[in-house]
Amino acid sequence: MIRSEYADPIEILLVEDNPGDVRLTFEVLKDAKVHNVLNTVENGLDALAYLRKQGRFSRASRPDLILLDLNLPGMNGREVLEEIKKDEKLRQIPVVILTASEAETDILQSYDLHANCFITKPIDFNQFVHVVKVIENFWLQIVKLPPHREQ
């Protein structure tokens, strides 16, 4: 099934501390075929608070997809991933690791912690645009995401 652009918007949570990357991702997704809402948090603790609707995120909606950077200030991406996948209510949400790292250990560790996929941010801008588009195409259009259990 291909989503129509008139359906409910897809909720994406981007966990990324670099405003440059946030902006780049936003720039690319802005033009996406699928209607989407991109929410951003800058660190791991906020990411978990957002997902658990705690504190100032009490009114946040449950995302359909999480884009997670590994290098975050304070609680890093691995720990966030581990928390999400330990949490029965959160573990169904697909997590895409989007990071500058190409290190084998990072890749292995992420999959060990049940990341749904691991993508290295390409250095080249055009490549980056391409990758984000592929993410959009695959995760927002092709993949059948789990239904929202809580609703």
Binding site: G20, L24, N71, A100, I123
Partner: protein
Amino acid sequence: MPEGLKREDLTRHLFDIAGVIEMALERDGRINFINSHGARLLGYEAEEIIGRNWFDSFLPEGIRGECRDAFAGIMAADTEPGKPHECLVLAADGKERLIRWHSTVIRNDEGRITGLLNTGEDITGRRQAEESLRRISERQDAILQTVPDIIAEVDADKVYTWLNDAGIRFFSEDAIGREASHFFEGEQNTYNQVRPLFEGQDDTFYVESWQRRRDGRKRLLAWWCRAIKDARGNITGALSTARDITDLKRAERLIRDSFEMTKAILDNMDAIVYVADLENHEILYINEYTRNIFGDVIGKICWQALQSGQSGPCDFCTNDKLLGPDGEPAGVYNWEFRNTISGSWYDIRDQAIRWIDGRLVRLEIASDVTRRKLYEQKLATTMRKLEDSNRELEQFAYVASHDLQEPLRMISSYLQLLKQRYADKLGGDAEEFIEYAVDGASRLQRMINDLLEFSRIGTREEKRRSVSSEDSLETALAKLKLAIADSDARVTHDDLPEVKADAIQLTRLFQNLISNSIKFRSEEPIQIHVSAVKENSYWRFSVRDNGIGIDPAFKERIFMIFHQLHPHHQYPGTGIGLAICKRIVECHGGRIWVESEPGEGCTFHFTLPEASNNED
């Protein structure tokens, strides 16, 4: 003759006093007369005997017939009584006595034989004494002839007068009649030593003397000598026993020499050597080295003398480890310990051995390894520092790659975004400037990645095992498939060996060297050949090409990180390829170098350890 004494009676009394039996027999063997000595000897009074048959009453049953026959013969005048003869008689108490008889026949006036007159002498006691003397003498003879020792008798002139069998076996029969000195070997003081003996001293003298055996061999005899005196106390000679102690002396010397040698070895050992009782911990032996540290502690208790602060046997005592379940020595127990008195570290070898008296004791040999221990500790510290430093370096490289890449990505991404959206609004030069900026950023990116790869080499020693270098080369060639096809390069190789290496790094090594050869090609069609030669426990690999070659002046420099001989725009790259090769080879314990002349291609050589036999 005194009055009243008849001649007849006189004779009888004389016989009685002389202890001689006098007895007369009738022709029929009846006793006609016996004197009182004879009757007493048989245990009767003479009146009880007279008239009784001699043969039936007073001879042991076994000889009765024989004696009667002999008697009959005499009576018949067939035989003369002849010489004195010995015959047993049976006394009243049942005991037999041996009598020596003289017999003579009695005739009447007509010359007819009427009886036999016998005089007898009781020789029972004498015969017994003779018998026991004979036995003693036989025994003595047997002893003298069978003892292994030489027994010899000399006269006052020291001439051999008698030798036992052992003596004859040693000196030969000819020795008797010869002076003792005839058999002396070499100069000796023997006569002086035994002089007091011949001057009347009663002691037994001991002398050792070299003498010539009958086979001509020189043997050492130990002599024990004693003077012999006659009834008046004059010295008539000497009786000696002698034993061949040549072999004994030799064995003694051997034991003494080997003991001296063992002692010398133990005393010269640069280690504590001691023996202590397994049960009561008493020290039985120490070598000089131990004496120098602990003093003369023989006889003391080891945990008191060799350690400090022990109120009983040391809790680290190894005695319980020295015997097996069968109670027999269990072999060497090796351990390390820091002595509580000297403070030195020792490499200790403990072992149960059998002591001279047969009991099991503990033998300890402890070498001072304090210096080695200090080195080890220093080495461990250095290693730890090195590991820390390596870990920090890795951490640094990792962090650098991440943290440097993020801003770099920002630079290049936004430059490109800028270019895409605004190039036409920025004027003619903008695009070129942006290009340079983007190129610079991506070069920096590559350098960071190369640096990261470079820093990771050598951190994976555990991944080294036997690998086929030929497989690694094939993998490298597969990765370079495009480059090889594009450049039409011809890559050949000999049979390549197994080496001990990290397969991924070995592939990387070949890949870098071959792509280097392709990159620095000449006008000629590219030809690359890989070969390997065994050199001791290493294989020397050679990668030969026909490229532009390298000026020998730069032979060393090309292996330096980020070092380039040519302008970047002419030969693109970061200049890390050969630095990575060098690091890979050196981390494997090998060496890499290049042989080349400009325009004549170059050959890269590197060595790698051979595959070990005991594979994990």
